[in-house]
């Protein structure tokens, strides 16, 4: 069952957590299964030496990447979403086709960056997904800026970004949240507290390990939720987005979770992560939990779930094939597009 979000600071009009319909729950299930399958496949490709660079997985954090993305409006005129590298699922939900994710990891021309950037540095104007940079927390002020633009134009759009516990130590986290609060923009901040930043445990990152408390220092109402419970994340997000969309200012959601593997595929995490804790959190696997809820509390047919799993398997297979068949961009493209051409964007004016 979904644990209700613990409210820390009064939200203007306290609405009861919206009931999540079975259809939505199944939708969340589909996206989580797709995310898990995509990541598993990518990790295998990495291990086979078929992906350049390294590989970062969000396994065990899919409840967050999915729960925060599903409540948003996607597509042109939709909401801005700038997800953290653990949040592959967010990209999928918000519109990026699976094959382009694989093309991205492979550096192919079909990647959203035409191979100019790698891993989850994915984006495109058609999806209102800016292309993440490596520098942690940098996307926070950008997200505030997008929210400001919506407010200036009187549009009922919101801007959302997610980030890890490590990112909260950076100045841009601070400056971004403070400006968001003062300018009362429709932004939602999702902190994914998985208790590690590379090899650094949260105890060495901050003395205030409940990240939602940091938001209170900016006057931003904040809640903490069980980040391994997709229904909890989804509900908290629906509420936060509704409020932001209604012009009541920014919101902050801390999702408590645990990093289930190393920082990246090359990281020998066994040397520093306590195995007991990993085992413990493994029992809280968000996908298992959602499956259980669907079966036990919502009496969803196993065949229906299996149907989704099969559909996903096909989708991923097809996506990998397509990405593998794709070529690299012509090297000449390396020279292009440093600057946008004159007149860029004039159509939308």
């Amino acid at each position: 069952m979904s644990t209700p979000a613990r409210k820390i600071s009064a939200v203007p009009t306290p609405t009861p957590a919206p009931a999540v319909s079975d259809e939505t729950a199944l939708d969340l299930f589909y996206w989580m299964v797709l995310t898990r399958a995509t990541e598993e496949r990518a990790l295998n490709l990495y291990r086979q030496g078929k992906l350049p660079g390294s590989y970062y997985t969000g396994r065990g954090q899919e409840a967050i990447s999915i729960g925060m993305a599903v409540p948003l409006r996607s597509g042109p005129g939709g909401d801005w979403l700038s997800p953290w590298i653990r949040d592959l699922g967010s990209y999928l939900v918000h519109g990026v086709p699976v094959w382009r994710m694989f093309a991205q990891f492979m550096g192919k021309a079909g990647s959203t960056t035409r191979g100019k950037d790698g891993n989850l540095h994915i984006g495109g104007r058609e999806w209102n997904i800016p292309c993440q940079v490596s520098h942690m927390a940098d996307m926070i002020p950008l997200t505030v800026g997008a929210a400001l633009a919506y407010k200036q134009r009187g549009e009922d759009r919101v801007a959302v970004t997610s980030f890890g516990d490590g990112a909260t130590s950076r100045g841009d986290f601070h400056e971004g949240l403070n400006i968001a609060a003062v300018l009362e923009v429709p932004a939602v901040f999702v902190a994914e507290n998985n208790r590690w930043a590379y090899t650094t445990p949260i105890s060495k990152q901050t003395k205030v390990t409940d990240l939602y408390k940091k938001a209170l220092g900016y006057g931003i109402p904040a809640v903490e939720v069980d980040g391994n419970d997709v229904l909890a994340v989804y509900s908290a997000m629906v509420e936060a987005v509704d409020h932001a969309r209604a012009g009541r200012g920014p919101r902050f959601i801390e999702c408590k979770t645990y990093r289930m593997a190393g920082h990246a595929a090359h990281d020998k995490f066994e040397s520093y992560m306590p195995m007991e804790l990993l085992a413990e959190w493994s029992d809280k696997d968000p996908l298992k939990r959602l499956e259980q809820t669907l079966r036990d509390d919502r009496s969803v047919d196993e065949a229906r779930l299996e149907g989704i799993r099969t559909r996903v398997k096909d989708e991923v297979h097809e996506a990998v094939e397509r990405a593998a068949a794709d070529g690299y961009a012509d090297p000449a493209e390396a020279h292009l597009d440093v600057f946008a051409p004159e007149g860029w964007g004039d159509d939308d004016a």
Binding site: W80, T112, T113, K116, D117, H121, G123, G124, R125, P130, C131, V133, H135, D138, M139, I140, P141, L142, T143, V144, G145, A146, A147, L148, A149, Y150, K151, Q152, R153, A159, G171, D172, E175, G176, N178, I179, V182, L183, D337, V338, F339, A340, P341, E342, G343, W344, G345, D348, A349
Partner: protein, 329 residues
């Protein structure tokens, strides 16, 4: 269309005003820019005219300000972020080079924004209120850099910068703010536009090229006058923009004169002059009749006390001495 006599500072204000009149996406933001109109008055009365959502007072947070501008630009606005002094753009360096500069290259999503930097020394500001920041950025592909020397250019280049779909670092020299003045064709619809990336040949001459920009343009013209009286014809080129760099204007001048003197107020090492010299030494080599010379400030922080700051800055006499040497070479 009107042609009031405007100071460089008034021209900057007029450019923002006129763009804001015709393009709702344009807005200003920064510390004290709103009700107060900024530390120098560049945004004076824009809030009264266009409202609080288009002239935004922000907390003291340069990185946040620039980052917010990047996001707003991507979401379809045309932000103009003011640094209270250019020096403080150091705090926004990461946002500029990491987010603003590289977004379009990676996903073809443009970042049309301007960061206005009250730049430069000669005003007794000391090490932290006098920096010339233009050469902090030309290394970083994806940023345009504008350095006007006249009121007309301040107006026309700023309007072009606001319209440009790319992030522009607009270095307005605060020594010139109230010291430079001329009739400027303003007006929301028919004000003068000066394109980015075109140098101006301010004085033609066959003997020697001075390549310069911003505060040292007037000094170079004075030197050209002095040398004209001595029978030396100096060509004076005002770059106006460092990025895009008007390579052709520089090369064709130097190919004609055979002698190049590069002058800027910024300190020598790592200043833009090195880049200009390198381009000349590679692509106009066969036309060179003399060493490529640079006149610039000392490679030190900018000292506060008037006699020390004077020692630090390149003065008219320094330019004159170098130009004379070169002419005589």
């Amino acid at each position: 269309m009107t042609m009031p006599e405007l100071t460089y500072l008034e021209a900057i204000r007029a450019a923002m005003h006129d763009e804001m009149e015709i393009d709702e996406r344009v807005f200003v933001m920064g510390e004290d820019v709103g009700r107060q109109g900024g530390a120098f008055g560049a945004t004076k009365e824009l809030q009264q005219r266009f409202g609080e959502l288009r002239s935004i007072d922000t907390p003291v947070a340069e990185s946040g300000i620039v980052g917010v501008a990047v996001g707003a630009a991507m979401a379809g606005q045309r932000p103009i972020a003011e640094m209270q002094f250019a020096d403080f753009v150091s705090c926004a360096f990461d946002q500029l080079i990491t987010c603003a500069a590289k977004m379009h290259y990676r996903i073809g999503w443009a970042v049309p924004m301007v960061v206005r930097c009250p730049n430069g020394g000669g005003v007794g500001g000391g090490p932290y209120h006098s920096e010339n920041v233009e050469a902090w950025f030309h290394h970083h592909a994806g940023l345009k850099i504008v350095c006007p020397a006249t009121a007309t250019d301040a107006y026309g280049l700023l309007r072009s910068a606001i319209r440009d779909p790319n992030p522009v670092v607009f270095c307005e020299h605060k020594f010139l703010y109230r010291r430079v003045k001329e009739e400027v064709t303003t007006g929301a619809h028919d004000g003068v536009l000066v394109p980015l990336g075109k140098a101006a040949v301010l004085r033609e001459g066959a003997d020697l090229s001075i390549i310069t920009y911003a505060s040292t343009v007037q000094l170079s013209l004075a030197v050209a006058d002095t040398l004209a009286a001595e029978g030396v014809a100096v060509e004076v080129i005002d770059l106006r923009c460092l990025v895009p760099f008007d390579r052709d204007a520089v090369l064709s001048s130097v190919r004609k004169t055979g002698k190049a003197l590069i002058v800027h107020e910024d300190n020598l090492t790592g200043g833009f002059g090195g880049e200009v010299a390198a381009v000349i030494a590679q692509d106009a080599f066969e036309h060179l009749d003399a060493p490529v010379r640079r006149v610039a400030a000392l490679d030190t922080p900018i000292p506060f006390a008037p006699p020390l700051e004077r020692e630090y800055l390149p003065l008219e006499e320094d330019i004159l001495a170098a130009a004379r040497d070169l002419a005589a070479y």
